[in-house]
Structures are given as structure tokens and as C-alpha cells.
Amino acid sequence: MRIALLGWESLHSICVGGVGVHISELACALERKGHEVHVFTRLGSPKQPWYEKIFGVHYHRVPFNSHPDFVEEINNMCRAFVNTVFSVEDYMGAAFDVVHAHDWLTSNAGVWIKEGRHRHFVLTMHSTEYGRCGNNFFGGRSERIREHERHGTYCADRVISVSDSLKKELMWMYNLPDWKVEVVYNGVNPHYYDGWIDPAGVKSQYGIGPLDPVVLFSGRIVYQKGPDLLLDAIPYILKYYNNAKFVFVGDGEMRWGLEEKARHMGISYATRFLGYLNGYRLVDLYKASDCVCVPSRNEPFGIVILEAWSAGKPVIASSNGGPAEIIWHEVNGFKVYPYPESIAWGIGTLFSDFEYARWMGRNGRVAVETAFSWDVVADQVLEVYNSI
């Protein structure tokens, strides 16, 4: 099967967030199953070649004109994608069996390829604009992006959503039929988190004592992810575990406000705001922490949970969206309500019995290796391709 993946980011061009990881890993997994995979992404820098074969996957980096208006610029990118896909097809003398676009950013390219040459068009929705705005229907640019999403999901042959709650959201907002939307959970590469480290050494880098219990928040510090809920929960926990430390990894518009709020509450000594981290430093933090907290207000899937489980850590996540589906309560994590008191209950219960917490972390690792590896994801995606 010849597959074209369209993505505005990938690990080998520009990587902004989880979508880039998803596209690159999925392409590799599909390639491992013996398919010909072409990835079309943006040109990261002028130094990068326009075509490259990486781990058996064909990467086409596409240049395009910039535009002061973001949505127009994305449309420019889509036009450039369509042009490149068509010229690649002409060069090969063969057609793509499936064109697989990711998110609203590349949905228009898929739509136009389907209009022009009648290829099968699959669209993966990683989140919705409604969720990204913290469950709000804003006007202006947000409204235009929603129109993009509606148009893309309407024209697609199949829509893949990353969780059941996102599927319901899509069916509610964009009036999609049930048969059109398939649920394929995200994946993670658990072997990236293999190995043992000295937790005390990692903790001492951030001014944390060797035996202090550590809660990790990893994600953009924005309203959608609810870091303020965790911050409000901190006093409840410090009452009983006065040496607990809370590490916030990530950046966003709420970061400085939160730091100021922590200072006002008098708990800044228990918090660490580290900004954006990735690579081995983030992996080490996952391994050194005692639990990972995901207090999101709207979470389509929550790859953070998979990363935590890969590192063998239990998860405390708010029970809306994706986390509610993938967590088995009291077996590999706690489901809590998105309120400070409830989050404090989860963390406090976990701290009261670390043996139990370690057992939950081990279960998480088993779950990740069973159902959330990229090979499983690729199998499911192929199932969707074949069902068209």
C-alpha cells in the first residue's frame, strides 16, 4: 500500500508538539509493516534537503509562501502540499492508495487532493478548536478554524479520532455519522524510557531533597491543561506532606501568573517552574518523580499519561476526555474530578502508600506495552485504510 501522510510538523523538520511525534512514529511503524510511506511536511530550515529518506520513510519537505494571516498561511501550505503530492505521483507514475492528513492544518490539502484526483482521504483529529480554547466557542480566527475542521471532516472518507470522548465531540459539533469516525488511541515508544537513574541526583539539580515526594506536571501551562487547579491543591497536600515538591514543566501564557500566585499563597518554595524541557532531561524527571498529575479541563487523549506509564509512574488525571477512558482506577492511576480538593485527595492517597504507588506504576508499564505501542496503532490505522 502506498500511503501519503500530510503533517505540518514532524520529528525531522519542525517539531512543535505531539503531532510531530505521532506522524514520524506512525510512518516508521507503517514502513515496518512493509508499506511505502511518504511524509509531506514543512521545510524546517533552508539547510534541510527537500527530499530525504529517513529509516525507510520518504520525507518531502515543502517550502511555501508566508502570509501575515495565520489561516491564509496554512492554506498556502496546503496548496504547496497538493502541488508536491501531484508532482511526486507524476514522477513515480503511480497513485497513492491513501492520503492521510492530520488535524485541520493539513485537512484542506487532503480535501483538494480528493477533489482533484479522487484519492482516498483519511483525516486524523488530534483535538478540536473548541477544546483548545478551553471548551469555548470563540469568534474570529477560532471560528474560521472550526469551519476548516467541519469542511475537512465532511469531505474525509474516514475520520480517526484519538479517543471516544473526542469522537463524541466531533459527532456533536460537526454532525458526523457514527460509522465514519473510528477511535485509534495514541501510542508511545516505551523503550525510550528504559533504564534506571539516581533520583536523588536528578532532584538535587532542581533544589529538591533526596527523599522529598515529587509531583510532576508536564504540559503547556495554559487554561486547557488546568495547572492552576494543581496549584490550588498544593496547600492541602503540604498540610500533611510538608516536604512535597511540585515540578511544572512546560511553558504558556499562564506561567508568570501562576508563579506570582504561588508567591502570594506562600508556597513558592514547594514549586519549581522549569519552562520547556525535552529529551533526556524530561525523561530523567519522569523517572525521578513519584507521580504525574494531569489536571486538564479538556484533554483529547493525554500522551503525558502514556509517557508517565512508560517511566513506570502512576497517574492522577481529571476524569474528563481521554484519561477517563484509558486509566483503570486504582490499578494504574487515580481518576479525579477537575477540582483542587479532589486532586489533593488523589495525590495524598498516593503518598500515603508508596509501595502501592510503585505497583500502580508497574501496571501502567504493562498497559503501555500491551495496547499503546506504535505497532498496535499502525495495525489499527491499516484496518481503517482497508475499510474504505
Partner: protein
């Protein structure tokens, strides 16, 4: 004023009993709210720390002390009344070695003043005096030392270690409150131990649960298991084998 009694201690009770009625008549009415005297006839200044960034100062200057000064140095024209603040944080102050000095010009009739500081957690002392335009300063009174509180939690975030030996009774490091022993002997109250639901789960159970998560995943993992069963069981059933082979063909 109450009448002073010059009586022996022994006869005191009798005396009071005898003069009971007159005593009550002479008693001055107790006033709950009364004005403080406007002056105590002393030249003095006192500092009080209001909060980390503010100090309250109040003072009194008697006419006699100003007269004394005038006798000593001549006319006091063109001179200003000032409070000279000394920052004496962490030093042994002898009048000259202050970390920092600043003056505040005051009206002597104001009698009190709020002084704004630009750092917290520091010790201050003040001189009340007279300053001439050419810089000469004559002290009238010196204040007490005040230390302003810290505006933030303590900088000391390091751990404090203590040695715990078995068998030797040691005082707890922090005594939040002293718990008195109950006077009435009661039965030992056992705290209800928290019990969590312990799951006797194996890896297989977790794998089974997660392979049932979504219908699409269920089929795929069933196929995968069918493929691996070939190696686990010596004699696989014909159907399972067929499924596995079919799947491999389809992918390739």
C-alpha cells in the same frame, strides 16, 4: 488622689472596716477611655516595625532640651529637625559603622511618622536631631533597635537532619503541642487503619483489560495473540493457526 494610710499591717483590716463609708465616697471613678497626656516632658524617639516595608516612629522634644542646645551652639536659625535612620543589620553598632544612613526632615509638631523602607528583613535605629544646611548634625535622642520581618518564606530550604537511635528516648524535633495524658485510664484506641482495595491482578489481567478498550483494538490483539500462540502451545488448533497465517498474508 487616694488618701494614703499610715497604719500598721495588723490593724489594717479594722481600719478599713471603720472607714468603709468614707473610702467609697473618696474613690475616683474608673475611666475606661481617657486621653493620654500630650507630653511626658522627656526628649525621646521610639521606633515600631509596622510591616516588612514600613516603620512607625513617634517622638517628643521638650523645650528645655532645645534651650540647652541653643546655649551650647548658638542660634538655631536655618536648622531643620530630622530623623537620621541607621541601617544596622547584622553589625555591632557603635554610632559610626552603620551600613547605610538616610535623613528624613520632619516637623517637630508632627510627633509621629511612617517611614517607608525599600528592603525587608533589616534592623534599624534612629537619631532625632537638628541638622544645619552645612551638614552639621546635633543629636537630641536615640531610639531603640527594630528589626522588620521577612516578606517571603525563609531562604533556608535545606534539610535538617537528626540522628535517631533505637532504644534511647529522644525528644521529638518539633513539639507542636504537648499532649497531656488522659487522667482516666481508658482502653487503647486503635486507629482504623486505612485499607485500600488490593487487587490480585496479574499482567495477563491488565493485558486483557487493555486489549478490550476499543473494538478495533480488540480484534487486532486477538490476532496478535493468535500469532504468538503458535510458539506457546505445542499443538495449536487449526482455526487459530489459519487466522494467524491469513493475517500475515494480508499485511504483506
Amino acid at each position: 488622689m487616694r488618701k494614703k494610710t499610715t497604719l500598721n499591717k495588723k490593724s489594717k483590716f479594722k481600719e478599713i472596716n471603720l472607714t468603709k463609708t468614707t473610702h467609697v465616697e473618696n474613690k475616683k471613678e474608673f475611666q475606661d477611655y481617657y486621653d493620654l497626656p500630650s507630653s511626658y516632658n522627656t526628649t525621646s524617639i521610639t521606633l515600631i516595625a509596622r510591616d516588612p516595608y514600613w516603620i512607625f516612629a513617634y517622638w517628643e522634644i521638650t523645650q528645655s532640651s532645645i534651650e540647652e542646645l541653643r546655649k551650647r551652639i548658638g542660634s538655631l536659625e536655618k536648622a531643620n529637625y530630622v530623623i537620621r535612620m541607621y541601617d544596622v543589620t547584622c553589625i555591632n553598632f557603635d554610632g559610626t559603622n552603620a551600613n547605610r544612613v538616610f535623613d528624613i526632615e520632619i516637623d517637630p509638631n508632627a510627633k509621629n511618622w511612617y517611614i517607608n523602607l525599600w528592603n525587608d528583613n533589616s534592623t534599624f535605629c534612629a537619631d532625632l536631631g537638628i541638622r544645619f544646611p552645612d551638614g552639621r548634625f546635633y543629636q537630641l535622642a536615640r531610639s531603640n533597635f527594630v528589626t522588620t520581618p521577612r516578606f517571603r518564606p525563609s531562604d533556608r530550604s535545606e534539610e535538617i537532619w537528626m540522628e535517631v537511635k533505637q532504644g534511647i528516648p529522644q525528644k521529638p524535633y518539633v513539639m507542636a503541642r504537648v499532649e497531656e495524658k488522659p487522667k482516666v485510664p481508658t482502653k487503647e484506641i486503635k486507629e482504623p487503619q486505612r485499607k485500600y482495595r488490593r487487587f490480585n491482578l496479574t499482567e495477563e489481567d491488565i493485558k486483557k483489560y487493555y486489549s478490550n478498550l476499543s473494538p478495533l483494538l480488540k480484534e487486532i490483539i486477538a490476532k496478535r495473540l493468535a500469532r504468538t500462540w503458535k510458539f506457546r502451545k505445542p499443538k495449536p488448533t487449526y482455526k487459530r493457526l489459519l487466522k494467524g497465517i491469513h493475517y500475515i498474508e494480508k499485511v504483506q
